[in-house]
Amino acid sequence: MIPKLQTSATEGSVGKSTRRLRWFVNAFESQVTQTSADTGNEYEIDCDRLPAIFVSWLSAFNAQKPAETEDRPAYVSFASGLMLKELVEQNPLSLVSMPEDADADKPAYFWPEGFAYLAFCLNVRGLVLEKDYHVAPELSQDFEDTRTWWSFRENVEANPALAIAFLDHFANEQPQWSMPGLFQRKGVQSIAPTLFDEIEGPGHGA
């Protein structure tokens, strides 16, 4: 299960709130508190890094923000992946301690920081989709799968942009493994698999 995210009530669009520094910092801290309560992991947050993460994310968000309304729900997932990428790259959390009986095969103890980052990004994605687009978010069965987490950690630490594709994977969306950092509009998505198959052959992926 993903540790829940408690956020203060927001007026208007949740998506717009996420683009405010104070919302991001409060929500992230709240997520870490809840993750600690659920897992017994104790984290330290480097609060000085959070504004830099926010700025990098906002810049990346604005760079590819789609003009067409129909692309916006898909962009919510992409933007959540961008946030996961920034968090993994700038790593504002450090683990202070974990329970003595922690099972290292479980995601929360296999990669405690990554678990908190992914929980935060999936929760924010779910919140925006539910409140702004009335879409119920899904969670992949692979969320608890140890092998998937091995692949997630190894690939993302080598190439943080793959966090965008992994977030889609964990959210039961279609990941773009080949060019994860490039948002593909709806029209492009439908022809992209064909194009990639022609270039690389079927079965490409991380």
Binding site: R22, P51, A52
Partner: protein
């Protein structure tokens, strides 16, 4: 009979006296840094006496470094936006700006700087009349910068290094941006927001320092970032 005025109410003091106290704290801090390498050469009794004196001066100087009284921050924000251009609004703005600048200087690893409320008061009193919001805010920030209210101490070795000048500009921008943004209800949370805004400003320092070229650019940068605070 009037009760004796206590130094603990540092905000009740006149601006020049507050500047003197702030200058004392700044100068002694620098003196400590200068003398630190040779401290071991001084007899311990003399060293202890010096340390006690410095601590006493620090305690007095700290009276100007307390958080602003309740109500000052919203009033300062109203002054910056042009919705309260009264003398009291200007006073609140200067107090809040000086406090924020002191806080900002304290968190900088290097390039510390000092502010003068007396010069700042003169600068803001005649700036931005008839203007509102971001343009007025930009004009006020530029007037503070032009008058070097963030300055060196005359007749001392303490001068404003290029790094300190940059830090002072960043603190100035952060203060303006924080005051323009939506207020938090709890004063402590609001002050924490300032520290976040300062960190954000430092992250974007190249872009922000370039915006100090003219009021239009500065106003545009303030407006652009305000919506994301």
């Amino acid at each position: 009979m009037m009760p004796p005025r206590s130094l603990s109410s540092g905000f009740a003091l006149k601006r020049p006296l507050r500047d003197v106290l702030r200058g004392m704290g700044f100068a002694w801090e620098a003196t400590e840094e200068i003398l630190d390498p040779v401290a071991s050469l001084v007899p311990s009794s003399l060293r202890d006496g010096f340390k006690a004196t410095v601590e006493g001066i620090d305690r007095v100087a700290d009276q100007v470094n307390q958080p602003p009284p309740p109500g000052d921050v919203p009033r300062a924000a109203a002054f910056l936006k042009g919705s309260d251009v009264s003398e009291e609004g200007a006073d609140a703005f200067v107090r809040v700006w000086a406090f924020a600048a002191d806080q900002a200087s304290a968190v900088m690893e290097q390039g510390h700087f000092m502010v003068s409320e007396t010069l700042a008061g003169a600068a803001v009193a005649r700036t931005g009349q008839g203007l509102t919001d971001h343009v007025r805010a930009a004009e006020i920030l530029l007037s503070l910068r032009r008058l070097h209210s963030v300055t060196s101490i005359p007749r001392t070795l303490i001068t404003l290094s290029p790094e300190a000048a940059r830090n002072a500009d960043l603190a100035l921008f952060a203060t303006g941006l924080w005051l323009l943004a939506e207020r938090e209800l709890e004063p402590e949370v609001d002050l924490r927001l300032f520290r976040l805004v300062l960190a954000l400003t430092r992250t974007l320092q190249d872009k922000i320092l370039a915006a100090f070229e003219d009021a239009g650019k500065l106003a545009s940068e303030l407006a652009d970032l305000e919506q994301h605070i």
